[in-house]
């Protein structure tokens, strides 16, 4: 099917985008189109019928990826760039791995970081990574700019903190400890399918003792969330198997998966437990 008719407007700069958004606000139902890998299927199926489509795909200033002390990802950074960024290792490896799991190989050619955050699918990998790393999402409107912690940005399935006239311009990931390690894993029906459960872990240790742990869970609740109790159990441990077990059980208890895709709640909890155990066991060698 083809989308219902809409007015089309292409913008070339952030300022033009914000102008167009502000103007469209009066007429309602305008959408920003970036890579289109989630939006175009919804347009084609007429699940959304915007009056106006503002095409931001060509705003070169938003297509960047910069790593120094912190990591800055532009809203139009394509998934393949994160996937192929070999500088993203150690503490950043989980982010790269998360990007490599988004959609399908040809979808990662076009799909954008900001698009994935704005779409806010509860099972999406990059929102999970943003929450786990404690990223701040940068929003702009004609009225100004603000930063929202990823944990507050995702409000529920396809619901975010974006206000009227606001657009995502990028995100800042604070620097993890340089000797940190990280891992990402998910369970899905096919290698290329949506995850039924996803786990993102970032750790740093000193002399074999975990100083800081972040454990994020995706696809098992209305929005990605950290498993705070599991993090607490890991900190101060030596990642010994009893600590790993306790954290895995705590993470499984912390999530609220729905029955979906014929998979019941308990099974998805078991997946979380297995994924946490697997990622932590995989990292244990690097920590000791």
């Amino acid at each position: 099917m083809r989308p219902a008719p809409f007015a089309y407007e292409r913008v070339e700069s952030v300022e033009e985008m914000l102008e167009a958004l502000a103007r469209a606000d009066g007429e309602g139902a305008a959408v920003l189109l970036a890579g289109g890998q989630s939006l175009i299927p919804r347009l084609n199926a007429r699940l959304v019928r915007p009056r106006r489509v503002i095409d931001i795909d060509g705003i070169a200033a938003l297509d960047h990826l910069e790593l120094d002390q912190e990591l800055r990802v532009g809203a139009l950074c394509r998934h393949w760039r994160l996937e192929e960024a070999t500088s993203l290792d150690g503490p950043w490896a989980a982010l790269r791995e998360a990007a490599a799991h988004v959609g399908l190989h040809p979808v990662r050619t076009r799909g954008t970081f900001g698009g994935s955050l704005a779409h806010a699918d509860p099972a999406a990998e990059l929102p999970l990574a943003a929450v786990t790393y404690g990223a701040e999402i940068e929003l702009r409107s004609r009225a100004g700019q603000r930063r929202v912690a990823a944990e507050e940005f995702f409000r529920g399935p396809h619901r975010t903190a974006l206000g009227p006239g606001e657009a995502i311009v990028g995100a800042r990931f604070p620097s993890p400890k340089p000797d940190g390690v990280s891992a990402f894993a998910e369970v899905s029906r096919r290698v290329v399918g949506w995850p039924l459960a996803a786990v993102c872990v970032v750790l740093h240790a000193a002399e074999g003792v975990i100083q800081g742990a972040r454990v994020g869970l995706g696809a098992v609740g209305p929005a990605p969330r950290r498993a705070i109790e599991a993090e607490r159990l890991l900190e101060g441990s030596a990642l010994e198997s009893s600590a790993i077990d306790a954290a895995a059980v705590a993470a499984a208890r912390a999530c609220a998966p729905a029955v979906a895709d014929g998979v019941d709640e308990d099974t998805r909890r078991d997946m979380v437990e297995a994924l946490v155990r697997r990622t932590l066991a995989g990292l244990a060698g690097a920590v000791w």
Partner: protein
């Protein structure tokens, strides 16, 4: 109805199309008479519309025609050269990697995009990338065989 003129490169030829704004890149390509690019699901799942966008595989159904402005698109029509099939095409033929053929151009572009960028891709990597597209006929094994054999053939050509 709103129409828009868009210029892009299709198989090394400059192309200009004037289409309704809601037309997809797949519509734009097919409107030029290059109908090798197939349209199946129109929601990004099947991959029969896969083309190369500046050298990387992309779904032509998940892009507005207007978004192709200034980009370089390659389709199955651009594979054969000088009356000779591309090694990937030749390999598909030899390994019987197609039956009805509907998925074939999409699979070929997916494979060409991978093998050009990653000539040394491992068999696991080849399989993982090929999992992006659907085939209802072959059961996939002949497609995987064809692409792995084409990889060998291409490596031989370079030497």
């Amino acid at each position: 109805m709103d129409v828009l003129r868009t210029e892009f490169t299709l198989n090394d030829m400059p192309i200009e199309v004037t289409l309704p704004v809601r037309a997809t890149l797949a519509d734009a390509i097919r409107s030029t008479g290059a109908t090798g690019t197939r349209v199946g699901c129109e929601e990004g799942i099947c991959g029969s519309c896969t083309v190369l966008l500046d050298g990387r595989p992309a779904r032509a159904c998940l892009m507005l025609a207007a978004q192709a402005r200034g980009r370089e698109i390659r389709t199955v029509e651009g594979l054969a050269a000088g009356g000779r099939l591309h090694p990937v095409q030749e390999s598909f033929r030899r390994h019987r990697a197609l039956q009805c053929g509907y998925c074939t151009p999409g699979f070929m572009m997916l494979a060409v995009g991978l093998l050009e960028r990653e000539p040394n891709a491992s068999p696991e990597r080849v399989r993982a990338v090929l999992a992006s597209n659907l085939c209802r006929c072959t059961g996939y094994a002949p497609i995987v065989d064809a692409v792995l054999a084409a990889q060998q053939a291409l490596a031989g050509e370079v030497i």
